[in-house]
Symmetry: C2
Subunit: 356 residues, 2 copies
DNA sequence: TTGAGCGATTTCAACGTTGAAATCGGAGCG
DNA sequence: CGCTCCGATTTCAACGTTGAAATCGCTCAA
């Protein structure tokens, strides 16, 4: 005997409730929405009927009728990286505040998937998209963008052709670098440039720029051997290239260079994951942090207070980013022709043991 | 001048495409679904028209018609905890494999929010729910459960009244504890019981049970002072009580006891976050891990390979959990009357420096 | 006593899609 | 030459909800 073609779960509808309450189904709708006045006895009967049959509104029908889903899409490279996990946490929270749920998408940093996200996934489901892009630039985003409201996180280009929420990578990394210089470090390195030039000014590029800016301001220069790239985007890496593993491997390679670290006394990392890996490499090599080399990261990921030594890091205001992103995308939902804006979220330097 | 009542974004519909292609809108639908044969020239014209107007299917309408959304809900306590971030990553990936998107909800461990998740959120949106419950038990879940297919992650009760995917907490923690005993540890402690007895056998309780089982098997006994509870659920804690901060504070308190750690030579932690906090406390107190105290965690969170010392931990097969959970919930979607099952996901002990 | 006014309720239509079934048009066959 | 058959296409209705507007039933003022 084959399964009895369980076509629909056949939940109760407004009509079922209405039949029990002895009113028109429109009245049930009125009770639920609360926008139209309903007399007290009627409301009581309807609510009883709703409870009795266990009615639950069918959001698809509502969405079809009113043209809104109260859903947002959040697209990040890797939910498994602490920064993006924190971000998702904050976005889900911020969206909830305004009555929205969040659909999470992961791009793995894949340009094609990021473009697909920017273009709206080829279907209409959510009211807006918050995209944390890592492999595509403004031009590509503008070209791909569809009708769905879109807000992009992270910097690429100054020109405001897309709504963005950014944390100033140049200035923040300059501050972090200046902090090292102020504490007497003179031979600084940078870990985490991305060799792929095609994508334009990535966050890593901007952080490197901030690094150089601080050096220049102090009349210093960086040894090119101390500017360390991570590998290009690789879909096979489970967490991309801004990983602890990558930081560990690159730092080991740096130490294995013919001259060893050759006087390096400070290392600025493009993010905390790389810094965590670097810390381990230094620890294994018996290089004392911060005595011999000071290390700073970027993200202030939750584990940074617990690494050995605890990691000095740039702490972006992730909750602020999330709030701004959600507010921006909802502004676009309300008025699609609202001109693009770039919002800045604050950051601060959190000093811990690795660069006191 | 007020905004021109931007009622709908007015995207093109099947009818618009049909008008341009000179066919009925049903034919356009046929082209898109690909289930009904369409002649080559017609298909070409339709596809051109689709591209021309930038048509994108309205998922709400499809969902209303066919009764499915191809959406799943994942409900976790905190996306900001690595374990749940990993889980979300894995669930999103597993869902994508079968054509589903994932709506993420966070309960903060709040029993009310967990019940709301179990009951299906009072509205019909997604086809099924994967719930990682931390504060409610099987009985409560069964009582609250609504029509929406539900799969629960984590153990509570053996009786299979709800579909579950579990990793055996008792056995795995027994293994971890036995590993400490095998390496010569005799005075073991456990960090992370939850004092709240009302909720029944939580994961922490089961892990404690595994801990005791291993001791008993070795003819050992635990000093009650070495069984350390974390605080009860507290909505104000940003990451709940299984946090690095909590592990740090509780371990410090343990060290501050009148007798200090009093011979403690091994510590089993209910999860990696607590262990990371404990490692820091030991480090600050100058207590060598693993020489003086060996430490094991549970989760094998990504940072555990990079802590100082690297953390020995139980590694649940998170990808496996996710696959089983998605498969289970989809089985329920297909056949709501399918009897509840409990699926076991494997785990392994990953030996690192903290307990070699 | 009647009509205006108003809160409560109902009627009607539409949102965009797909399952089911009807229709169309040409190829193949007796 | 007419009939059947079958692939291609269209027609029809329905999914469950809400905006807009119509209607109902009452109170109150003239």
């Amino acid at each position: 005997m084959t399964a009895p073609s369980a076509r629909r779960s056949a939940g109760p509808t407004l009509k079922d409730v209405a039949a029990i309450a002895g009113v028109s189904y429109r009245t049930v709708s009125n009770v639920i929405s609360g926008r139209t006045p309903v007399s007290l006895p009627t409301r009581a009967r309807v609510e009883a009927a709703i409870a009795q049959v266990g009615y639950r509104p069918q959001l698809a029908a509502r969405q079809l009728r009113v043209g809104r889903s109260n859903l947002l899409t959040l697209s990040v490279p890797f939910l498994s990286l602490p920064y993006f996990a924190q971000l998702a946490h904050a976005v889900v929270g911020a969206a909830e505040q305004v009555g929205y749920d969040v659909v999470v998408d992961e791009t793995h940093g894949d340009p094609e998937r990021e473009l697909r996200a920017a273009s709206g996934y080829g279907a209409l489901l959510t009211d807006g998209i918050v995209l944390s892009a890592m492999s595509i630039n403004d031009t590509q985003i503008v070209a791909a963008r569809g009708r769905t409201p879109l807000v992009v996180l992270g910097e690429r280009i100054r020109a405001a052709r897309v709504d963005r929420v950014v944390v100033d990578s140049v200035t923040s990394t300059r501050d972090a670098t200046a902090h090292l210089i102020a504490s007497g470090r003179r031979r600084l390195g940078f870990l985490g440039t991305v060799p792929d030039a095609s994508s334009g000014a990535s966050a890593a590029d901007l952080r490197l720029e901030g690094f150089r800016t601080a050096l220049r301001a102090a009349g210093l220069d960086a040894d090119p051997r101390h500017i360390v790239a991570v590998s290009a985007w690789d879909s096979s890496a489970p967490d991309g290239d801004y990983s602890r593993e990558e930081g560990y491997a690159r730092t080991l390679a740096l130490l294995d260079g013919i001259d060893g670290i050759d006087g390096l006394d400070g290392l600025v990392c493009a993010n905390d994951m790389l810094a965590v890996g670097a810390l381990r490499a230094f620890r294994e090599a018996g290089i004392d942090v911060p005595r011999r080399v000071a290390v700073v990261g970027w993200d202030d990921s939750p584990e940074s207070a617990f690494t050995a030594p605890a990691l000095t890091s740039i702490a972006p205001d992730i909750a602020g980013i999330a709030r701004l992103a959600v507010a921006s995308v909802l502004r676009l939902v309300d008025d699609p022709r609202s001109p693009p804006r770039v919002e800045q979220a604050p950051y601060r330097l959190v000093r811990r043991e690795s660069a006191p």
